[in-house]
Symmetry: C2
């Protein structure tokens, strides 16, 4: 039977001033998934390591995405999906998106690339809906396309790849729970026009900085005057992490997704390592367990390993 192994990477959504529209694919960590084509219309989920993820396909992000895809296929086929989860659920670095995107990319590969990337994003959004109640693409799009992606619009879907210079990403995941639904609920439904203007000046600067390889402009534009001041209150140590990481040379950064992970961008690996040391010091001091990653931007997204 046809089978494929893939690596499905972590992603950072809500890149600072790019709330709900800008996401970035990371080289690490990655989930490892094995997907097998079946001759029967069913979806089987196997969780290799124990994260208490649902095995009912319709309640599982990978499963729901594949079910949406199968809905568009008339053949008597199905998939068996085995997930080795290395991206901890609830960490804010796109764990659910990795399952959803990984599953549809793998299945599509086994089907001879019947579907295009936009179709895959649409299927994987069914998985995000299971995970968070909302169809959003700001983790899925970078996970599938790689690199940095702008989701200009969901309906109609409009995904734009944003080229960027070499960047190192340091992530710290303090081991506390921030529910996506809580993180969304504390946001105000209205914002000041003057703040919105500052935010869209910043995202315009950030996109220009990425495409023009202008590190200084990227750094100046990594400012969020709307979401971060509210959500950062849910993350112990946030203000100190941000301040000291910038003192250590980071270009800037902020909350990854809806938290609790915090990410920082740096121009080179040495700085990214110093930034990691700063994060470790702070969370050791406040006695919170944590995990850190020093990685780069992943330009290819989900990677097919072998059949």
């Amino acid at each position: 039977m046809k089978e494929v192994k893939i690596y499905s990477p972590a992603t950072v959504a809500n890149i600072v001033c790019g709330f709900d529209v800008l996401g970035m694919c990371l080289a690490e960590p990655c989930d490892v998934m094995h997907v097998k084509l079946l001759a029967e219309k069913k979806v089987v989920i196997n969780n290799i390591n124990n994260h208490q993820l649902p095995t009912d396909a319709s309640q599982n992000t990978a499963g729901a995405s594949i079910l949406a895809m199968l809905d568009d296929i008339n053949d008597e086929i199905g998939f068996e999906i085995s997930i080795e989860k290395n991206i901890k659920p609830g960490s804010g670095i796109g764990s659910s998106a990795a399952s959803a995107a990984g599953a549809v990319v793998a299945a599509n590969h086994l089907l001879g690339n019947k579907f295009g990337n936009e179709d895959l994003v649409r299927y994987a959004m069914f998985g995000e809906k299971v995970a968070s109640g909302v169809k959003h693409a700001d983790n899925i799009a970078p996970c599938i396309y790689g690199g940095i992606t702008l989701i200009r619009s969901i309906f109609p879907l409009d995904i734009v790849s944003i080229p960027a210079p070499q960047l190192y990403v340091t992530v710290v995941h303090p081991q506390i729970e921030v529910r996506t639904s809580d993180a969304r609920q504390i946001l105000r439904k209205e914002v000041l026009l003057k703040d919105a203007i500052r935010q869209w000046g910043n995202i315009a600067g950030l996109v220009a900085g990425f495409i023009k390889n202008d590190y200084e402009l990227i750094s100046r534009s990594l400012e969020d005057v709307i979401i971060e001041p509210v959500r950062s209150m849910l993350i112990p140590g946030f203000d100190e992490v941000k301040l000291k990481c910038k003192e250590a040379g980071a270009l800037g950064g902020g909350i990854s997704g809806s938290g609790p992970s915090i990410f920082m961008l740096s121009k080179n690996e040495a700085t990214a390592r110093s930034v990691e040391a700063v994060m470790i010091n702070i969370y050791n001091k406040i006695e919170l367990t944590y995990h850190t990653y020093v990685t780069t931007i992943n330009d290819h997204g989900v990677k097919i390993i072998n059949e």
Copy 2:
């Protein structure tokens, strides 16, 4: 005595989703200015054609800008400024900015380029303050830098040149008065977060489209869900102009500055001319006098002609 002649161009501020941050320099129309260096600390304003512009330097946009510059110079010098105004005041295509920017660029030239472009923007903003009560740079920056400029921030000043592909600009100026102060007053101080997100997705797309020479992306991103729905009510014919110009092939467009001028971007001159014909038809039909321009983006800004 040293003297210089310059052309100071019209500009389009508030490029659709880029309210308050994105401006664009036009090849036409241009004010013509003669600026003469004087051996006495005074500023003389001569209005060549009659637009009832103040001749008291401190109340004139060119004069106030030059006074701000002279404040930073210890020498006993002054300037005589003669303005032939071809950009009608109140048209919404940067008439006051052309006077202010033109004056400081000309004066700086006569001083051997003592000041940098950022300094010139700061001086010219004093002129904008006289004209509209607010220091803003979204006409001045493109007028001085040329091309399309992002004003990411005013304090501190952060101006970013945004490269763009060849674009034709059609402008219609319906001869009605829209006061900048009125246009600002009708805006709500708060906006919905979901609208703000859509707007910053669009400006990110527009900037990416400009830099990547992606006309389709530029076209899709030329959408303003916050300012235009409110301000367009002040401009008779706006909705019809926008709809029919897009049907005629325009990439998109919107209100120029705070109106009443409307601008449309096109990929080639033939389309820009068809767009002009559409505008002419509509304003003939509703019996409003108007003026139209078909022009291009001006990459150099204020132009020094001779001494």
